[in-house]
Each structure stands twice: as C-alpha cells, then as structure tokens.
C-alpha cells in the first residue's frame, strides 16, 4: 500500500497496482504520468489525482450516466498504446470544469480519459468527432435525464 496526498479527500491509501500510467502525460501536464482514480462516494463523480502532485487533480464523471448518445471510437494508435485487447477492458471518464453557478459546469466530451483497466495504461484521447465539445454543459444532460 502507498499513501496519496490529495486536496479534496485528504490522505488516501492506495495500492500501487491501482496507479494509472499516462505514458505521455496529459495535454498541459505532460510531466504528470501517474494518477489514481478515486470515487466520491454515492455519486457518479471521481477524482483523477496525480500521485506526485497533491494539488493536481481533475474532477471526472462517468459520461454514460449523463449522455445516452455518447460514444468513443478509439483510434488504432490509442488501441495499440494502451494495449487494448477486449472492449470490456476499457473504462471511460470525462473531465469536468466546475463553475459557479453549477449550471455553468462543463464536461470535456471531446477528450475523454481512456483507461485500460487490465493493465492500467491510460490516455486522454482527442476524438475526431466534432459533435462532442470540450465544453459540453453538464446541466443540460442532467435535466434531460430527469424528464
């Protein structure tokens, strides 16, 4: 076991096996290659926390809870980089930008976080699909599902 310092959840115990390896970092944070994904209890939200930088964390969501029509077509390069063999191995999250009022909060559907849950390789992938915006309103998705 190891300890991960976080701003939002205090010090969290995590297994080294749970470390996600972003071999190329994330755009804007290329030097940050190791993260853990920590769930916020009883919610559809997660914290993508840098293992080495306490103050670097992204609030993420499960996109399929909020957007029925969301889909990710993984390009061949990403499939190879993550060594994906089965579709079932792949977990997908999107990064949120929390704004106030909360109705202004957006999700980056254009560049989802792709995780191979089997080997823990991960990557932020830029989709070719222009229909998904890096600033997709979360409030519309939530209210749509409520109806």
């Amino acid at each position: 076991m190891m300890q991960v310092e976080t701003s939002y959840l205090g010090t969290v115990k995590s297994s080294e096996d749970d470390i996600l390896l972003f071999a190329g970092g994330l755009p804007g944070f290329l030097e940050e290659k190791e993260f853990v994904l920590l769930p916020f209890e009883q919610s559809h939200f997660f914290l993508l926390q840098s293992v080495h930088s306490k103050h670097l964390a992204f609030i993420c969501a499960d996109p399929f809870v909020f957007w029925d029509d969301y889909e990710v077509k993984l390009d061949d390069a990403s499939v190879e980089q993550l060594a994906v063999q089965e579709e079932e191995e792949v977990a997908i999250f999107v990064i949120l930008t929390i704004e106030q009022p909360f109705s202004a909060t957006t999700a980056n559907l254009r560049a989802p976080i792709i995780i191979n849950s089997k080997n823990k390789r991960a990557k932020q992938v830029m989709l070719d699909a222009y229909k998904f915006s890096p600033k997709t309103a979360l409030s519309k998705a939530a209210s749509k599902e409520r109806c």
């Binding site: 190329g24 804007g28 944070f29 103050h55 809870v65 390069a77 190879e80 932020q124 830029m126």
Partner: protein
C-alpha cells in the same frame, strides 16, 4: 522554420518513421496524408491547444465546500438518488 516546396503527391520525411504527403490542394485548403508510428500522436494544433487550455482550467482547485455542494447538487438531479 524549414521551408520546403512540394507538389501534389510529393512527400517529405521527418526522421525515419514519419512521412507527410501532399494529397491535394484546392484553393487555400491542403489535404495532407500523414503516416507515423502508432506511438506518435498526430493532432490538429488548434484542437490540441483547446484541450490543453481546458485541462488547465479544469485543474484549477475549487474549495472543498464548493465541490461537496456540486456533487450533492448534481447527484440529486439523478433519478432514484
């Protein structure tokens, strides 16, 4: 910046493994074919920059109170919760 003139169907090589071919030129639009190893990601620059910017905005810390209120607010909107 290195400047090279190329005609349609002509190619430039970058290192041993990256090739960029001019496929067509129509007006101010140039269609490029890029072949690169799968370890090399190829992006449209403006898309890459937009994602970079969005990541930096998303990484700005919010206070714990705001985060908790956000999760409560957004979770309460879900059916059955």
């Amino acid at each position: 910046m290195l400047v090279l003139s190329r005609k349609t169907t002509e190619t430039i090589c970058i290192g041993d493994e990256v090739e960029v071919t001019i496929l067509s030129v129509e007006g101010d639009q140039v269609k490029l074919g890029i072949s690169a190893p799968r370890t090399v990601d190829v992006h449209r620059k403006e898309v890459y920059e937009a994602i970079q910017k969005e990541n930096k905005t998303a990484a700005k810390p919010v206070s714990l109170e705001v985060l908790q209120a956000f999760i409560e607010h957004s979770t309460n909107q879900k059916p059955g919760s």
